[in-house]
Every structure is written in structure tokens, then in C-alpha cells.
Amino acid sequence: MRKLVSLVEKEVKDLLRDPRIYIGLVVPVVLMPLLGFLMSTSMSSSIEAGAKGLKIAVLDYDKTVLSNAFLNLSRSLGADVKSINVADIETAVGEARNLGSTALIVIGRGFENDLVNFRRASVEVYVVMETMSLGSIGAYSAVEGLLSVSSKIFSNMLISKLNPSISPDVVREPFNVSTRSILKDKIIEVPPQVLFNQLLMGYSIMIPLLLLMLSITVVQFAATATAVENEEKTLETLLTFPVTRYDILLAKLLGSSILAVIGSILFTGGFILYFNNMLAMSGFNFPVGDVSQLLPSPPPESFILLAVSLILAILFVTSLGVAIGALSSDVRMANSLLGVIIVPIMVPSFLMMYGDLSTLPLSLKLLVYALPTSYPIMIAKDMVMTPISLEAILGIPYSAALTVLVLYATSMLLAPEKLLTIQYRLRLRGSRRRQIKELETSLQ
């Protein structure tokens, strides 16, 4: 134990003080909230700018009391309305642009006549798209809002004219719908959309994303820590110490996992701040927090299953990271080889994040089931919505067996004889490839 603790101390201290590592740990905490703040500020200011300075040019072909009432109503709602008097639309568009208007509204002939005869009146809207920014979306939303409010006021007027004793709201929306959701036989007093927003954000995106980040971080740390040993020529010395290769492997797994957990906590903090900044933006007011209290609590054994599957997934990817690092003569080579591991880890996570496992084709399903990193995500999703599936439960002994196999294979790789021979072969292959390239270049 004393030897293992010493080795873990070495791993953690060396990794934690490595700029390549701690920058990776600290950056999300600083960058993600900053990114959220910048994005929300930029989006809010663009949308506000689009809505506040709403300038509208109106080409009124009808010139009646009601068309004039529409213009006055628009002004009373805060829009800067300019009337233009030209013969055709093209000239009107040019005029609207010269006036700096956000949109041109064309009130067709017969506007008043159609309304008083309870027919739909024609209104054409031309939105000026100055930039492909959120400002344009804001301007368009403001025009839509203006037309919607105007339409409602005109509708109230028409309904009251037909029968002053009835409520226009009842005519427009005769059903008073209140929707509730049923989850695991429990009625939740919120509509599915609100629940979906919460579950989608929390269980279908946040948890898989965090698990994915944890997996990638841990595999990177393990690969870097081992590749640095090769690069700095310390692994050879380490392998002559009176420690078993299992101690060395376990120390690397523990050291990398400790740092990955720290990294994930920092990443989660950064991610929450990012979302807080984004959600604080006007128009994004989800009813966060209240809904989670209404959800049925997952059974305690599901947390145990989640923890076990998570530990197995971390051990699995870390041992792969150690293997990659051991085979790499330096950190650069390890980073190149990491892609081979990271992509298969990422694919199932994304498949489960955005899709339903049961609807996937068999080949993709097999890919998901083959990886121990899939099971924590599966369990996390099942915890709230349904009982834990049999596949997820069976995944635990399967992951354990596969992880033990990978750990054993990685520990075998830490035998200097094998390591030096494989590294020698890899270098030989690399130099042969370089020689072929040089030959090809010289022949061209």
C-alpha cells in the first residue's frame, strides 16, 4: 500500500503541476462562463436592438379609417411608423431602405372592406435582412409581435361588433386546456414540454455530456502521464523499482482518475455558469428547479448501479489511455493515437444523447452495447423515465469483465520487454513510411 500511495502521489503531483494538464483543467471554469456571458450579452443586445429601434415603413393602398387605425395602433405600441406614398412595391422597398426601416408593411386595397365584411384582410410584410445576425431575428420577431397584437385587437373589435355580450377570448380559444404529465405512474403537474425541457437538458444532454467529458479527460490524462514517462525516459527506471506492474498501472489509473474527477467538477461548474448566463438572457426563462422537485425520485439501487458502471467506465478508458501512452514515444504521438480511442467513445454518447437506443439500427446498437462507457448514460436516462433496463443491468458484469481484460492486457504491456519491442517496431514502421515518402518525393 505504501508503495502504491507513493506512486499515486508522484502521478498526481506531476500531472497537476503540468501546464498541459492544469490549463486544461482551469480553462473550462474561466472560459465557459465567459462564453455564456458573451453569447448571452451579444444575443440580448442584438435582439433588444432589433426590437427597440423598430422602424416600419407603411405603404397604405387602402387609405381608410381602419388602415389608418392600424398605423396609429402600431405607433402606440412603440414602433416608429413612416407612411410612404409610391406607386409600386419596388419603389416602396427602396424608400423603406433609405428611411432605415426594419420592415415594409403593405396594406392592400380593400383592407377595411374585407374586415367589416368579416373576411381576412391582406397585409404584406417585407423584412429588410441587413445582416445574418441575431439582430435581424430580433427585428423580425418584433414585427411579428406587432402584427400579432394588432391582429388580436382587431379581432376583439370584430367579435364585439358581432355580439358585445360575449368574450372575444372564448371565441378565439374555446378550450381551457391544462396538460399534465404521467411519469412512472405518477401525475406531474406540468405539461410534457416543460418536463421534456428539463429531462432533455438534465438527463439526455447534461449527464451524457459530462460523462463524455470525464471519459475524454481521463483517457487524455492517462495517455499523457504515461507518454511523458516515455518522453522523459523515466518509465524505464520506474520499471526497475521493487513495485509490480499492477502497482504502476493502478497508480496511473488512480492518479488520472483523481485529476479527471477534479477536471469534471471544474467543467461542470463552468458548464452550469455557462447555462446560467445563457438562461439569464431574456426570453429563455425556463421554469428550472421547480420541476425536478416534482419528479419521482430514482430508486436508491439505481444510484449504486450508476456509480458502479461509472467506475468501470473510468477504469476502462483509463487503462486504454495508459496503453496508448505506453506505446507512444512522446506526448505528440500519444495525442495522435488518442483519436482512435476518443471517437468510438464519443459516438455512442452522441447516439444516446440525441436518439433513442431502441430505434437505432442493429450495428449501432451493438456499438453502444460493446462499450462500457455507454452503460452509465443508459442508467442515467433510465433512472428517471423507466425502470433500469435489463440490458443496462447486464452491462455491468459485461463491463467488469471487459475492463478486467483490458487492465490485464495493459499490465502485460507494461513489461519492458514487450514495451521496448513494440515501440521499436512502431519506430521502425514510422521510419520506413518516412523513407517511402522521401523516395516518392524524390521520384516526383
Binding site: S6, D18, E236, T240, P242, V243, T244
Partner: protein
């Protein structure tokens, strides 16, 4: 194993693919000796030392270290040996003291013994206060001195040193030679490789000339010089290899 021998190597062969790095080497190193392996680059010296350090497995032949089979009982050998690789690196982000302390705690069960070993290593390395600085700030020579100190602080029964004074200036090289001599006087045994013939002549009780994976001559420096009529080991080596 032959009585009193710390190392016994018989018909050692190590092949890397088609290349025979070591080809039929037999050696015997007695307790209290400083045994030198001399030879040009690629002669097979480092491969022999790596096999003795239980890092590599022989293709064929027999290697016995401290009474244990180097292939079957490597785990039993490791607590009693220490190996200094020619290009041994350091952990950039640890201080010299932290590194020595971690290694000492691996070798010693008691904290007192570990602390004593660290203090001894600091003395051997001559790093002074710099021992508390991160190792990435060390010069090549400082790193080497620290590694030699690490290798000797555990009082190994067999120290395997590959080019121990490579990269050191004359003053520090002399200091390290004295440290190695003292280690042997205190009961240790050393096998080393070196390009520096003067160093080998000064330090070693016996030497073996290695050439193309073979031992081509073996004996005490004085015996070799007398036998070959050479004034120093360098001349003797050239004489033997040019035959």
C-alpha cells in the same frame, strides 16, 4: 550460481529481430567489485545492463543476479539492485527532494530509513538548496547527479550504472567516482559501462571489452595492459579490436 558471485551470466544471447545485440556473452562479477563494460556504441553494453536490471529478457542463455534467476525471479531481485539508465530522465514537475522521497518510500518500509536515505542522496548529489526546486529547472549535470544519488541512496547490493558520469564536468565526475568507490567499500557491488577509459581504469577492479555483442577480452585493468603491452586501456582496446 558460482559461490560468492553477485552476477553470473552464461552464453547470453539477445536478438532484436535479425540483429544479435548480445551474442554468447558469459560474465561473472564478485561481491565488492566494480566491473566495467567497455565498448563502442552499439556493442551491446546497454543491452547486457538492461537484462541484468530485469528490464529485458534474454533470447537464450542464463543470467543469475544475487542468487536469483533474472527471468523467473525478477521480482525478488529488484529490491536489492538499482539501475541508472544512460539517458534516465526526471519528473519535470517534481522537486528533487520529492522525487527522492517517493523513491525512498518505495524501497524502505520505515519513514526513518526513508528520510535517512533522502538526506544521504542530497549529500551525494551535492544539490544543496536546489534540491527543493522543480527538476525542470535543473541542468543536465544536476539531473544526472540526482539520478546517481537516487541509484545509490537505497544501498543496493548491486548498482547497475550505464555511463554514470556522462554529461558531468570533471569536478562532479570525480565526486561521483568517489561516491561509487565508497559504495563498494561499504559492501556494495557495481557494474558500469563507460566510454571514458581513464575513468574505467581508475574505478574498475575488472573490465570486459565488448565488441559486436561479444566479450573479446576480460580481466583487471593492470593485467590487460600488461598482457597487451599497452600503456592504458584505450590502447589495449584498440589493439584487441584491430586484431
Amino acid at each position: 550460481m558460482e559461490a560468492g558471485s553477485i552476477v553470473a551470466v552464461r552464453n547470453l544471447v539477445k536478438r532484436f529481430g535479425d540483429l544479435a545485440a548480445v551474442d554468447g556473452v558469459s560474465l561473472r562479477i564478485e561481491k565488492g567489485e566494480v566491473f566495467g563494460l567497455i565498448g563502442p556504441n552499439g556493442a551491446g553494453k546497454t543491452t547486457i545492463l538492461r537484462i541484468m536490471a530485469t528490464l529485458l529478457l534474454p533470447t537464450s542463455g542464463y543470467v543469475n543476479i544475487l542468487g536469483y534467476d533474472a527471468v523467473k525471479e525478477a521480482g525478488k531481485i529488484r529490491p536489492f539492485i538499482s539501475y541508472l539508465a544512460e539517458d534516465a530522465g526526471t519528473y519535470r514537475n517534481l522537486s528533487g527532494r520529492e522525487y527522492l522521497s517517493i523513491v525512498a518510500r518505495i524501497y524502505f518500509d520505515s519513514d526513518t530509513e526513508a528520510s535517512k536515505a533522502v538526506e544521504e542522496a542530497i549529500r551525494i548529489s551535492g544539490l544543496g538548496d536546489r534540491v527543493d526546486d522543480r527538476m525542470k529547472t535543473y541542468s543536465k549535470g544536476m539531473k544526472r547527479r540526482l539520478q546517481i544519488a537516487r541509484a545509490l541512496m537505497t544501498k543496493p547490493r548491486l548498482a547497475i550504472l550505464d555511463e554514470p558520469t556522462a554529461g558531468l564536468d570533471v569536478f562532479h565526475a570525480k565526486h561521483i567516482r568517489e561516491v561509487v568507490s565508497r559504495h563498494v567499500k561499504e559492501g556494495g557491488t557495481v557494474v558500469l559501462s563507460s566510454h571514458n577509459m581513464l575513468e574505467v581504469e581508475y574505478l574498475c577492479t575488472r573490465v570486459a571489452f565488448i565488441h559486436r555483442g561479444h566479450v573479446i577480452f576480460e580481466g583487471a585493468p593492470e593485467e590487460i595492459k600488461n598482457e597487451l603491452g599497452a600503456s592504458n586501456l584505450e590502447e589495449a582496446f584498440i589493439e584487441v579490436t584491430s586484431r
